[in-house]
Amino acid sequence: MRRLVYYELIKTFLKKRTYIGFLVVLVVVPLFVIAMKIEGGRFLQMTTRSLQQDFLFVGNLFNGWFVAFYMMNSLWIHIPFLISFVAGDQLAGEATAGTYRLILIRPVSRARIFLSKYYTTGIYTVSFVGFLGVLSVGLALSLLGHGDMIILSRGILILSADDVAWRFLVGYALAAWAMLTIASLAFFFSSFVENAIGPIIATIGVNVVFLMVTVIPAELFQTIRPYLYTTYMDLWQRVFDDPVPWGRIGTSAAILGGYSLGFALIAWSIFRRKDILS
């Protein structure tokens, strides 16, 4: 199995499309951090204007931690889109290229080929989220320095400087876990089509619709919200709550894991019976 995964990684990482996501992050993150360095102070002032009548902000709250946390919001839509580029291509790409005919006539079971592709998708997803984390946190800290971290998403919370780094580490680990669900969804779509564009569009479509249902405060959506994976995708944000709701994070992680496994199992049931006609 290790050898199969090794060659799947070679196939994936020697393909140009694999680097689209890395390239986008490599361009957008420095641009964002530089823009924040130039005008970011004003941005924080604008965001906290209503609070300044009641609170006195002391010290450097506009720092690398604040900007790095802000960039994590790309994990809702932008990063899933970039992940689906590769995950959606894993199976459908073989059909498009006609290379199923090359690999599925070998004395190796479809189960092993499927697993090696799924592992590779996971490795890509984790490495991509890791790359985003290292680049955004590293660059933000080196250009904007560090200090106490202000979080404005649910009221106002200030975390002391020595209590932040581990939260980013765990936050990105949980983000990678959440992104595996997105990757599994794209992988599932990839199993029953013969063109990689379909899985990308389908994944993004499902993700956007589910996110809308999750965030729009309508009574109508209350009943279906617990069944959508997007309801549990905020687990990486929860690490920045104080105190950290570990129980809720654990439940969300387990549910997302269940979704990933479910998508993978459905993909497998399609792949194992698939007639290769391409």
Binding site: L4, Y6, Y7, I10, G98, I105, P107, D275, I276
Partner: protein
Amino acid sequence: MTGDVILQTRDLGKQFKKRWAVRHLNLEVHRGDVFGFLGPNGAGKSTTIRMLLTLIKPSEGDVTLFGRSIERQREEALRAIGGIVEKPDFYLYLSAFKNLEIVGALSGGVKRTRIEEVLELVGLSQRASDSVKTYSHGMKQRLGIAQALLSDPELVILDEPTSGLDPQGMKEIRELIRHLAHDQKKTVMLSSHLLNEVEMVANRMAIINKGELITQGDVGDLLDKGEKYVIVRGRPATKLRATLKKQKCVKKVVSRGEECEVTMSFDDIPTLAEALVTSGIEVQALIPRRSLEDYFLSITENESKL
């Protein structure tokens, strides 16, 4: 000389929605055969080969390779087989060598020297490190044969290996098939829609049309079976008919305008030609024909009219 049966299909069939692409197919390939699998386009050849190589699941029947059912012992059965299905496709952004490494890994691992050996055999050693996207169709076809031979299989299944090649390329592939069969002692199953191609390389063959087996057996026996006749075209037509009827070697003459269908042995064609010329007939053509060839031409012609 052919040996025991190494590939057998029993009542093999594949249904797509309501249409049967292949039905009740019983094939036998013997060890040492160059087996021609002949049929017009859309006859079910590729569907059959896809079933043999487990790309598609049969709707009915069974395939046995080296005595093992591909349904129950798939991996063991496929271990001694290499193949190309339709046009050879590869990871275009990778080199030929890397493509073969991947195929090798899926075949249980092959040594670097074996990859070099098969690339040498198909004449691609010099281009081994170039990405496949720079290859011509003929080179891809040869690389397809290289990947089929990589694990040194006993049985090589080639689906239309000369398709899309120029005459020189077709000749090279035919020579390679002969080399595989005679020098490397491989059993080769070769699908084609060209009777003469099969006739040139195969010792046994099967003909399939509309998904059903028409006939199967030794190429020589099948081609000799049935009536042989010669189409003779010449002028003047009346003199042609009269002269033909006088010849001892001619068994039967059927006249069709300026053309006559003459039942006779092919060995006597030179004698007949000489007699016609001596009689002052302007001979335009002498075409030896066999009933099997006629049959095959009729099904392929019908196909091309559709």
